[in-house]
Symmetry: C2
Subunit: 601 residues, 2 copies
């Protein structure tokens, strides 16, 4: 016997034909002398029928099989009786009457059922990942991911991009996140680092004249894991020479359109993608990755509120802060005072001290603070566009409190009010980012993107001083989808003098700049072309296109929240010979405990 | 100005058109008032002309540019005068008369010329890799590599393979080469290992029901570097379920044919690839990776020589050894006694004690040992097929000396005699390998492929004992091209009982097998399908198709022979905070020396 078809693809077109199928037992129903088995392969399910009349031998074998046994069967495709048709599956109009059966592998009872919506814990799903991945939704997730990379390879190859691999055993450089290190055996005391991105290598490839490079590249960050972070993740990475950012955005737009078409059959016109400056995005949405599937934009009421009787508002403005508001359409009824208090509690994490709000009735504004705005009621409704039945939420503070607060409230209330069209794919380009951002925890300025981002042409004179550089804006462009940052791109610095200014503004001395990035600075003395590119996060893109909310669902063997892989149990202790003998390292004794070393958090 | 075309693609079809080109100055000739610049981009070279008549301003700028400056120029394509035509380049019939020029980047004098056949040292080429990669032959090498991966993605996607990424932060397992380790920060004392191949993960993906998986995967081995080894290398990796080895070889043959077609425009009929058993390959060629571009097969003369008067031959046979010979066509004249002595010296490395030989003249055999074969001259000529003018080389010893000796002599003399057609692509499948091989240095039996290789069906009963298992043969198939192993494949063990027998025959106890491979053994209890696959070495394939003899030439940023990367100088010392603070490790002080730690070699 040799397989002739996928089980899930058999349908009435095959009626009367003999087929050989391989797959797993999804379900078995023994009606006494008549057995039905749902046979599952990666394309779906088909019903097998066994009976004395069809084959006594096959029936006898079928009596012994259990769920998840692996079978090879040969049989004839027959139409089902009218009443037995299952409209929900592709093969629902037929069954395969089995004349031969071979058990290729047996199975113990699985720790959870192989079906969608399984209620096993995340840890159990990861420990038995090979079972979890048998579930149709997980199969579909990884197939969407594969379609994204296939579309990427096809589009970029056609567009003249050269697929070039860059090293994974690379140099540890300062800036950015914490590196994973790989001790060298040959030069003890020295370490490779697993790259956080192919950034420097791709710039060198442009210096080498390849003109258009791309790579589906793994990247590594030894960070503490939250939500959608993984120690290793995948970038769809490209770089071009001699193109300005408009041209690059156009090209990337076409590429993304080809992905959307081939994965979710969605026609994206890349020229329709709105382009917002970073400032505009912050002003209108309070975030640099706005979810534009719905409106509810932030309204700046600072001017109006500067002289307000409500001290919280006027005080905020007086202290150099701002007052902004969002309108929740129809929110007046939905949100009780208690519900609003919950929202207020929630936004404390952004530094908001309480949440001011107004409800709009047919009579005008209402609520505890309405009394402060007896004169301004109409003006507030005009400025916010609020109507009877709406809820207005305010934030009054410094911009770095007001914006994240209202961004969070906007997304949260829109979701709770069912205002988000889940069928919608809302892309946006966010351009013109600040070159630097201030990191209050470390009291220092870091590169908003990375230290190789080209300042805007007009800001080049600012780069001469550290203070000036911190005010510059960048030739950068992030691609946003449904409120997620999909990718981050920029024109790169190709001139040594600007690169040195950039590093200096980051606090590098000439010596430390040389030690960290000397090879790049030296390269720039040998004719590096203007260049720019982008990296899209494959994991996140696959997650969004698969309609999931956790990137673990689109990674075959992800790490858990403690950066371990429950199936193989990596990382594990290794032999003394490997650590001390080969590498000359002294390592602490491994404590086989569930308590990870997260002391520094 | 915005680029309209690649410089190297401009030809007489563009005559009269205005083009904008970007590229590097390959060469500049100043004829006083008339300047020619060869402008180079990734597609080739075009001649730029500058003169007072065309543009005084452009001429003035052109006077200042030097080699490797990056230029943007606008100009009109004009036919060259009859006498100025260069037939060697695509653009040789035209030149671009430049009206506008912009210097995008300047360049210092490069440490070597940017042209093919550069005589810089390997170390200099690696240190200035971005310059080395500008050379046309290096550009071509990496483009061939990119074509291989593009053809792979296209073919396998069409064939229903799902591109699935497996982890690079994996578990260290015994068997195989030395792992690169990555210390865990969260669980100190534990380590990830960079995978030596995705082998176990792809088997688990078959267990998960994906049916057809592939990946262009990086793999890592911390071995001492020789010839064509790199610490990281790339595998074109695939795995299938429910296919037998004939079907897999057919599929892989079609895939390789598509690669050959798209990279070197060669029509390979995969059904024409000869299939040899391992035994046959050893018998006929003395190696498991025969170069079949030429004949010169090994002839076994053991039976004939058992009673020979020449004690070296008869003694070898009496001691359980063998006598084999190759014929070097036309070698009698080419190889003087001195040259033959050199060959004899060379094969000492394989354990050969001297080299016996005969020359064939019109009168019959000749040479110092001819006297021992006065009766057998005709028989030797019959058995070897040697003719007048040929040289016959003999080896008489144990098979593990005779075979490698004659394999080496066969390849060496064929090369020296120019008997190898370099235009030929000689593929071969080598099947039916021994399951185990004895490792004399370690006095133990290791898996000839890897511990997950399925024994031949008929040999399954042998697996019950360690001694029996060591005699078994495997369902394995290596693909060979022009004497290089391109890839290694096999049907895998999908049954726990056989896997346990295999591990036991390798010396694992039930406990150590559980510790190392428990997750796999457990998985096999839940219905793993029959499976098989292959991995092709991309670096080696690209090297062969690019016509190079070092894999470094087809890797963008390779490591040197001490596993360092001279451009970035990786591996490097890192901060105490990274090693001790984050990872809790004590590392030896890094000695900045050229003396690597290769003591154990």
């Amino acid at each position: 016997m040799k397989r002739t078809n996928y089980a899930g693809l058999i349908d009435e077109q095959y009626e009367g034909q003999t087929v050989v199928l391989d797959g797993w037992v999804q379900k078995r129903r023994d009606l006494g002398g008549l057995i039905f088995i749902d046979l599952r392969d990666r394309e779906g399910i088909v019903q097998l029928a066994f009976s004395d009349e069809i084959s006594k031998e096959a029936l006898e074998v079928a009596e012994l099989v259990r769920s998840e046994y692996v079978l090879e069967v040969s049989g004839i495709v027959k139409k089902r009786a009218e009443g037995a048709i299952n409209e929900h599956i592709h093969s629902g109009k037929i069954e395969v009457q089995v004349t031969d059966i071979k058990v290729l592998a047996e199975s113990k009872t699985t720790p959870f059922l192989i079906e969608d919506g399984v209620d096993a814990s995340d840890e159990t799903r990861l420990k038995y990942r090979y079972l979890d991945l048998r579930r149709p939704e997980m199969q579909e997730n990884l197939r969407i991911r594969s379609k994204i990379t296939a579309a990427t390879h096809e589009f970029l190859d056609q567009a003249g991009f050269i697929d070039i691999e860059t090293p994974y055993l690379a140099k540890s450089t300062p800036e950015g996140a914490r590196d994973y290190l790989v001790p060298s055996r040959i030069y003890q005391g020295a370490f490779y680092a697993l790259p956080q991105s192919p950034q420097l290598f791709k710039q060198l490839l442009m210096g080498a004249g390849f003109d258009r490079y791309y790579q589906v590249a793994r990247a590594f960050r030894d960070e503490d894991l939250r939500g959608d972070r993984q120690p290793e993740f995948t970038q769809l990475d490209l770089e071009t020479s001699f193109m300005d950012q408009d041209e690059i955005r156009e090209l990337v737009g076409q590429w993304v359109a080809s992905i959307m078409q081939k994965t979710v059959d969605y026609d994206l016109d890349p020229t329709d993608i709105p382009v917002l400056t970073w400032e505009e995005s912050m002003r209108r949405y309070g975030t640099d990755k706005p979810d534009m599937r719905f409106d509810m934009e932030l309204q700046d009421l600072s001017e109006m509120m500067a002289d307000s009787d409500f001290g919280v508002f006027s005080g905020a403005v007086a202290n150099g802060g701002m007052v902004k508001a969002i309108v929740v359409p129809g929110g007046a009824e939905h949100y009780s005072r208690k519900e609003i208090d919950k929202l207020g509690k929630y936004v404390e994490r952004f530094g908001a001290k309480g949440l001011a709000w107004l409800k709009v009735t047919e009579e005008g504004i209402a609520g505890p603070i309405a009394k402060f705005f007896t004169e301004q009621g109409e003006a507030i409704l005009d400025a916010t566009g609020a109507h009877a039945g709406d809820l207005i939420l305010f934030a009054a503070d410094k911009p770095n409190v007001v914006n994240p607060t209202l961004d969070a409230l906007r997304r949260m209330t829109a979701k709770e009010m069912n205002l988000i069209d889940n069928q919608k794919w809302a892309f946006a380009w966010i351009i013109d980012w600040p070159l630097f951002e201030y990191q209050p925890e470390e009291d220092r300025w870091i590169a908003a993107h990375h230290p190789f981002t080209m300042p805007n042409e007009a800001d080049l004179p600012l780069m001469a001083t550290t203070e000036g550089a911190h005010k510059a804006h960048a030739q950068s462009y992030d691609l946003v989808l449904n409120g997620y940052e999909l990718g981050s791109g920029s024109i790169r610095i190709h001139r040594m003098d600007i690169q040195q200014q950039m590093l200096s503004a980051l606090g590098f001395t000439p010596e430390s700049a040389q030690e960290a990035f000397g090879f790049l600075l030296e390269g720039m003395e040998y004719g590096f072309p203007p260049m720019g590119g982008i990296a899209l996060g494959l994991d996140r893109l696959a997650m969004l296109l698969a309609g999931r909310d956790n990137i673990r669902d689109v990674i075959a063997f992800p790490k858990n929240s403690k950066a371990t892989e429950p199936m193989t149990e990596a990382p594990t202790p290794v032999s003394k010979q490997q650590v001390e003998g080969d590498l000359g390292l002294q390592a602490p004794e491994y404590a086989d405990t569930d308590t990870p070393n997260l002391a520094e958090e």
